[in-house]
């Protein structure tokens, strides 16, 4: 025989110890499935947490905007009322006759 034939004979396939396949299947069933399920559950929890955070942030932002808008509206109304009062006083002063002022 030449070297290549000797190598084929020396390196030919050999079987593992009996029960190898059963041990692999048992390990696959005991470890692979939960290992697969845990990351899925973690993904679901992470997505749910992100959604809750997103919705609550959006809600708070809207509330804050509404509050600021109502405060701005009250300030604007006060300014408008002040200006109206000043204008009203000026009008009243002009309409009052000079004689009544003299008396």
């Amino acid at each position: 025989m030449n070297l290549e034939d000797e190598l084929r004979a020396a390196l030919r396939r050999d079987n593992p110890s009996p029960g190898f396949a059963e041990r692999v299947v048992a390990r696959a069933q005991s470890s692979a499935r939960p290992a697969r399920a845990i990351p899925r559950m973690m993904w679901a929890a992470a997505i749910a947490a992100l959604l809750v955070i997103g919705f609550s942030t959006a809600y708070e932002y809207r509330e804050m905007k509404a509050e600021r808008a109502s405060r701005d509206a009250v300030v604007a109304l006060r300014i408008a009322a002040d200006k109206l009062n000043i204008a009203r006083e000026r009008v009243l002063r002009r309409e009052t006759p000079a004689d009544t002022r003299e008396n």
Partner: protein, 190 residues
């Protein structure tokens, strides 16, 4: 070249479609393990010269296969994937082992296998296995795929994602080295 991402670089081969049900059926997975256990275990055993460690690595490879099955498209793809993953697992393992001190027990050679059932000279076979196990990592995997799996250089290049010229040069150099060592150790001229 050999240490790239595993799943991304494996070419897909289509023939003999795998049923999707196989992934959820332990009996069919067991059939698959039985069908390929000799290939995976022998690759590890010839590479490591340690049956216990070879079984451990073979188990890990099949567990990885179990998780990967849904994305494998055919029997050919499974075989190709198993060779690829086993080869890289073995190379990674020996590189990792080089970095840590080894206990003497881990160096214990595998017990004699079924040599008595063949025409081959058991002593010569044992010597050849030892010499192959002493080759550098990539050359060792190439020799195992060539002479255990009977793959031609083109298939080895595809299986290992390696240029064919590199495969051929590994084969030539390894054969020359084995011839030289054999003739020096035992005066065997092959």
């Amino acid at each position: 070249m050999l240490t790239g991402g595993i799943a991304a670089t494996i070419p897909r081969v289509r023939s003999g479609e795998i049923s999707g049900a196989m992934t959820d059926d332990p009996e069919r997975f067991e059939e698959l393990v039985r069908e390929h256990q000799a290939m995976v275990f022998s690759m590890a055993c010839r590479y490591l010269r340690n049956r216990a460690l070879a079984e451990e690595i073979a188990q890990d490879v099949f567990l990885q296969l179990y998780r990967k099955l849904p994305s494998l498209e055919s029997q050919d793809h499974v075989v190709h994937w198993l060779r690829w993953v086993t080869a890289h697992r073995l190379i990674d393992h020996s590189r990792h082992e080089k970095r840590r001190p080894q206990s003497p027990l881990e160096d214990a050679p595998e017990p004699a296998s079924a040599d008595s059932m063949s025409d081959a000279d058991p002593m010569l076979s044992n010597m050849l296995r030892e010499l192959v196990a002493g080759l550098p990592e990539n050359a060792r995997v190439v020799m195992i795929l060539r002479y255990q799996e009977d793959l031609d250089p083109m298939d080895i290049a595809r299986a290992l994602d390696m240029p064919i010229s590199t495969v051929k040069s590994h084969l030539q150099r390894s054969l020359a080295l084995l011839r030289d060592k054999l003739s020096r150790q035992k005066g065997v001229g092959l």
